[in-house]
Symmetry: C3
Subunit: 681 residues, 3 copies
């Protein structure tokens, strides 16, 4: 769908019906004089840009007062873009309410847990649950949809922008009211809520729905289920806003696909995108690299997870950066080759559109030091040269447009509910980092050259021979059963410390940990052994654990102990176990090993499943490989993870991108990407 | 009294009149289905539990609405416990106001210094000075007392819970009003207050009582005497609540002793327990180990200080943990033996009751990862085994029940007023830590094997040959005189840097430091020399100082200089001095030496008093010794402070707990405790 | 003017018309009983004190209620001081509003960005924009001025105190109103404001002035020009208060000079003193040493900058400390000699008055541990001895009173607007420290023994052969032109990374960095290369850069590359460049070199200007030299920067302070200062 978006344009050329990769950016012409617009469209053509998002922050310009509308400039922009052959992903423009609205209605401003008002001055200063905001936002959406329904440039709708980036948690009275409604819908009766929230503890029993509040600033740890439900509610409240805008758009322009840009990256965790993914016509994502030793593994991880959200189908990279951003403590520039490699890594994982924030770097405002396609230095710059080059590369890769991801032998289960639950306060350790643990497994698999797919609870684990479920903390009965079924039917499950501990209400599964998975794993843990910061324990397989240990007792005779603790309070006890389950198995890793030691352990966990690297031994770890498959063939991406040249021997297929050396090996310069095509199998 | 509490039970057996050690926990049956209650009582008997605290967080359950009461379930619990032979320390249940109350009366919620409301969701969300809260709390107390006055299980009252754990500082308008009343009572006239607060500084002179406020968020350092008085007032406000509940209880059940659980541990400093101790019929304390190099020294220190609060008489350890807690950054599990050793160390220091939070580990709620007597894993667990074993040990130790502490040769003066005063802002250094300095002296004495008692200003220093007063910062004239008298009458006083500096109004004693003790010590300091973080100075006795130095001039001819500074700005000047005072002496240590170097210095300070270790040289430092004495004899506790086996030769007495080896030495395994009994002298 | 202030006293002796150095302190007699006052005046005479500031925090005492005045005690103090020959710099007493005023008018209390009220309890709890506060403050000023207009002790007015120390940023509704007025005055039209603030970004377009707010707590980075304008406004709001008080004083006592004490020191940056300097009759400054490796360089830097504010004319050191202060995390005492050296370094840079906070150390209150001229120990102390000695030294130096600073060969441009702008959020790096960069250049010049003057944008760069402009970030067109003119007319300009980037609206100069200086420097930068914390790059001249790098392209054929990057992402590219501009030049340093490596680079930058050290090679770096020049001659100060004795050979002139050794060299003990006089040239 994404790859044929341009065919939606009125008067689209026949060629637009051929799938192609899209290329573009957020385009904010209102920041520039009229004269610049023509140059913009000329440069877009030069760079191969064919898709831009327009109007994201235009509310104050489009509706300068409650009953005043000014669409003329946008009409002109849309016409210019259309004339230039550029399709428009048109924003609903509701991301940032204008000053007149917040002045007239300060009651739409969010409130922090400590009761502080979040004032205008930046963006997203609106309560997701404000009926006043909703009213004004939907009115704008309706105006936009009505006016541009028939515009030939329109190819998709872009709802709001980065929903929840700053306003996911609002503790206002509006939020309190909406929270109560959400709780009524979830629990029906107060008794059910009192049970779920375990309000017998600390004298918290509610006798009226009106007594319930968000977890505002409290004297100590607020009720954990209240906290967890507030996270669920807050994600749902924003999802509800997304749906409300979408419904207006579907009513007026039923044929135009609707999307919004997710933020699958880094620590962004407030929005349960696995739950949101079904609400959009195609998935879009924003991704920014945060410097660190695993920065490009994290990029791959995020792109992979976005692919999971999209159900393996193509998705749109709605924002990333050509170089530095402006919001990190230090915003480092990308090195030569990073721009292309970062973009193509997203394509490898299913992106059929590669877009940036933003087209032209702002001369002023809070993001003026955020890089763009046209930098402050202007088109006469190395950066714009690289942008043009990437445009050409994406044209070369057109044959893979529309292809889907080919399932990998290994799946990594990623679950927002466990993420939220396992990092709550008053836990055995405050140092646990759900995403880092998952990323470490991913890095370890990259180091081994073994392909892995992120999988959400909505995905089908049976597509993978091995399913890794790091810190799968919150396990309702149904999930416990489906995991047991997976293992019994031949799947090889691997899980870790602090998994299977609580149910959907954050109530501990009693009788010994990990209650929900105890029988499946054939072990029992009487007590957790979290480690102080800096403490480590040695295992007898020469690996080293940190963060956590468990006092494990093996309870099933068939359970094998893969390694023991050699030091620490658990010395002599099992550290890694595996219970055979017919054709499958269920393994448990009771400590944090980190990426390097997980790579040492993994071959023993993958072996029973017969999973090995598909890469030649000489390049394992140096090269990431990803496979897309579609009508046009099977496309193997080879991404050089290193800063030196790597030759990959024995790779079959036509070289769609890259080059073979004299020996026929695919030669990858530092950080380079190659794509090989074989006919669809 | 504690050891015969069970005899208060209606229908108590004759045996209950024999003193015994009590054993138990907080018991929260409302968190569990009815079916579990019977198992609870059965397991309690199995473990030797004979005392539980019930109802602490039951307000919402007992009074589900303003005029609705539900005591049936508690009646049943009380009956079951009584039938099982378990006495009940019944809570007044006022610790955490129920949702209906805070919804109807949000004006009882505390307010932070920055003006933020502290909302419900956790616990202790009530203003100590709210008349509305007081009204509702006392009404509940009256109902409880009336209903259970005659219940045979009732053996004591447990007022509220951990008063001030989260709500000691409240800056609300209620607090402001009460603060003014408290100040009127303290100062009578505004002139007296203006003098005490030195309001001539920074234009703060008050012309009306109504102008006075708590030290809320200010532009710079608030008035220090205002800060100090607000600490005094805040402690008193909670004490006043304790007294108010107690008065209701005494009216209705004059024969049932009343207690509340103090929190003598770690940095808890808001409540002046030395001042509170007289308000309860027996002292109770909660103690939790915080991991660190001095963690068990700190346990001993806290237990010792609790004994001081109890006037040397037995007290109740109302809460500690069987293993990990849930509120530290990382909550480490206890090692084998820790459970018993930690408990018995409290007993050594005078605890006649050993109780835990809590009986059965919660399956849900904010403390579900806090260990308990019955863990998540159930009674079939190593932990419950250790719990049963401790129960048996406590039965073995019954003969010492009711015995008091035998005064130690060394006293360490611990004073809340100096603690509060010396750590205020705008001081020479913000790095000073009153409790750490006192703890270091304690650790040093443990390292030397010399017994020491913590002493409060209410205690009698003359019971100790040596009195150490670390950072005795705030010294009213009366205290200065009593210390001088102590030294003149043969006592050996040791004090340190930043002692004797201010009077009760935090006004500096002029003319040269330490003004209040200058003549007694025979020195004069013109200027403080605090050291930057990380800076150290060498002394000429091979010790090393940090944090502080003083530019000392010796003013009395008889003053001896025990050591000089060898480096730093004070190089060549005295560092440690001692002035003989007839049969006694007054010594001054002008820098922070830390536990190790204090142990090097101490023999020179103890020598004139003739104080030496009572332990054989071979085990000094490895073993802590504590002595209780009562009708049943003299009981010497030997606690192995190390992780290896230690043999203590030459100890006389019957081995009540532990064993002698072939040579007759008392053999202590790692972390083990032995108790020897000799006839009362 | 300052040096003849005493001649203003009624009945001043003839000698008072002879210029002399003034010596004194803040004097707060209201903190002491009447009996102490006489001793105070006696000790002042003993110490040589001839000037005190009185009444700074006396509001509550002078006006105990709205319509009650109590001047009697102050009359007496003024009389006593006059009788003792001490002149009075009389405070307007408005620094700290009394309790009765804030109780009656809580609406004068400041509000934080998060909406928190700043309560009384400390000082400066008033909104600069409150009309209510202004009314009461000016009423007090009028009373003071009227009462003491004719008092013979009065020699100057001291407006308020340390304006803005704690209350420069107020986000109240009063501030919002005043901010809007200020913006109307600056921009006239909303269109101009919308353009300047680039409100097209993030939908911030204002359609009514009433919509505009201070940059209160927001969801993300507030609008940067709004932030910058709020800084300008906040500085102006306090300046406006200064002017309002001054106007009352000028009306009533037109002949008495008016000053207020600036705080040119450390990170104090909220008040644009370059902009304020013209508002006072003579410049006064408060300076406190903050311990660190560059602490006395910072003292010299601040004194030097104060001299720049005073236009090279004498100024008043209104406050510094005899030893420790009370508000740093650790307040270290001064070493022997520091008191005199610190004072004389200020004199070297133009101070004709040396005053302290405060005369007598407070026995109570928030600053009781702040050192004073008379310490807690009393006059019988080493400290008071040093105070007396300094008084004698200042009498010796009387001949230089009234002399001005002799321009140094090097100027360092210091600009509050660039300071504010370059450290805003959402920038390439958050680690940039404007003042530290400027201080490092200053330290490097001290290490080379080259004299340098701080210069404000109001100063004349043409007085200096070399003008260094570190991080001159904000460059309006006029400044760009004047710098080009400077270089073209023979000046040697040196600037650094992140200079010339934005205009007065914080809009980026487009086309390649550094836009405003690109042509002058003959280089073009496409992209910034900030470095992560801890990262460094090697240059090919053996220096090392941190914090920042630039990807420089040389664009003018005449531009020379002085050094290249050897490592890092810019390896091989230019790091330091210089473009000859006729007789002058324009150099660019693209990384942070730090003081030591700047000292290595500087000779190459100074060489074309023919600037060399005036000191003998043997003492360069060890000695700081400063020159004052006046009717009485040319005065060369030699300050020993080291802790060992230094002999300075070949210095001509009469030794006014200090001594020559047998060889005729000026001998400087550790931290000593010498002054040589030659006849005025």
């Amino acid at each position: 769908m994404i790859s044929t978006l341009l065919s939606r344009r009125g008067g689209a050329a026949d060629g637009d019906r051929v799938p192609r990769l899209l290329y573009g950016a957020d385009y904010n012409p209102e920041q520039w004089p009229r004269a610049v617009w023509e140059e913009d469209v000329r440069l877009m053509r030069e760079a191969g840009v064919n898709l831009v998002s327009v109007g994201i922050f235009s509310w104050a310009r489009l509706q300068p007062a409650e009953d005043v509308w000014d669409f003329g400039w946008l009409d002109e922009v849309m016409d210019l873009l259309h004339a230039g052959g550029v399709g428009v992903d048109l924003a609903t423009a509701t991301a940032s309410p204008p000053p007149w609205l917040t002045t007239a209605h300060p009651e739409i401003l969010p409130v922090t847990a400590a009761g502080e008002t979040v004032w205008p001055g930046a963006r997203q200063h609106w309560r997701p649950t404000s009926s006043v905001f909703r009213h004004h936002a939907l009115r704008l959406v309706r105006e936009m949809a009505t006016r541009y329904a028939a515009h030939p440039a329109l190819v998709a709708w872009h709802v709001n922008n980065e929903l929840g980036c700053h306003n996911v948690y609002d503790y206002s009275d509006d939020a309190a009211r909406a929270f109560r409604q959400w709780l009524r819908a979830r629990y029906t009766t107060l008794d059910a809520l009192n049970h779920a929230w375990a309000t017998a503890f600390w004298s918290q029993r509610y006798s009226d729905w009106e007594q319930i509040l968000p977890p505002r600033l409290a004297a100590s740890h607020p009720n954990p289920t209240q906290q967890l439900d507030f996270k669920r509610f807050s994600s749902d409240a924003l999802k509800d806003h997304l749906r409300a805008e979408r419904e207006v758009l579907r009513e007026i322009t039923p044929d135009v696909p609707v999307t919004t840009n997710f933020m699958v990256m880094g620590g962004t965790r407030g929005m349960n995108y696995a739950d949101w993914a079904g609400e959009v016509d195609f998935v879009s994502n924003d991704h920014y690299v945060q410097p660190g030793p695993q920065d490009r593994d994290e990029l791959s991880f995020s792109a992979n997870l976005t692919s999971a959200l999209a159900g393996g189908r193509p998705w749109c990279l709605m924002e990333h950066s050509t170089s530095a951003v402006n919001w990190q403590p230090v915003n480092v520039a990308k090195r030569p080759g990073d721009l292309a490699r970062d973009s193509l890594l997203h394509v490898a994982h299913g992106a059929d559109a590669v877009c940036f924030f933003q087209w032209r770097q702002s001369a002023a405002g809070a993001e003026k030091y955020h890089s763009a396609m046209v930098p402050h230095a202007g088109p006469d710059s190395e950066l714009f040269g690289a942008v043009r080059e990437l445009g050409a590369t994406l044209r070369t890769l057109a044959p893979l447009a529309g292809s889907e991801r080919e399932p990998a032998p290994v799946g990594i289960l990623y679950d927002w509910e466990s993420w939220w639950a396992c990092e709550q306060d008053s836990h055995p350790t405050s140092l646990l980092d759900y995403r880092q643990e998952a990323l470490d497994w991913y890095t370890a698999l990259l180091a081994l050259g073994v392909r892995a797919d992120l999988v959400t609870p909505h995905g089908d684990p049976h597509r993978h021979q091995v399913l890794i479920a790091p810190v799968l903390h919150l396990v309702p009965e149904s999930l416990a059963k489906s995991l047991a079924r997976y293992a019994e039917q031949g799947g090889h499950l691997v899980t870790t410390y602090f998994s299977g501990i609580v149910d959907e209400n954050d109530h501990v599964w009693l009788g010994g940990y990990p209650g929900a998975l105890r029988e499946l794993l054939g072990i029992r843990i009487e007590e957790f052994g979290p480690l102080l910061a800096g403490d480590t324990v040695a295992l007898d397989d020469a690996t080293t654990g940190s963060l956590w240990t468990d006092r494990i007792t093996v309870t099933a005779p068939e359970t094998e102990v893969l390694s023991h603790y050699r030091t620490g309070a658990c010395a002599g006890r099992p550290a890694v176990t595996r219970r055979p389950t017919g054709k499958g198995s269920a393994a448990y890793v009771s400590t944090r090993l980190g990426a390097r030691d997980l790579a040492a352990l993994l071959p023993r966990l993958l072996e029973p499943a017969g999973v090995h690297s598909e890469l030649p031994a000489s390049v394992r770890g140096a090269v990431e490989t990803i496979v897309r498959r579609g009508a046009g063939g099977r496309f193997v991406f080879l991404v050089n993870r290193t800063d030196v040249t790597v030759a990959v021997p024995g790779v079959s297929g036509d070289v769609l991108l890259g080059a073979r050396d004299a020996d026929g090996a695919v030669s990858l310069g530092p950080r380079e990407v190659a794509v090989l095509r074989t006919p669809a199998g």
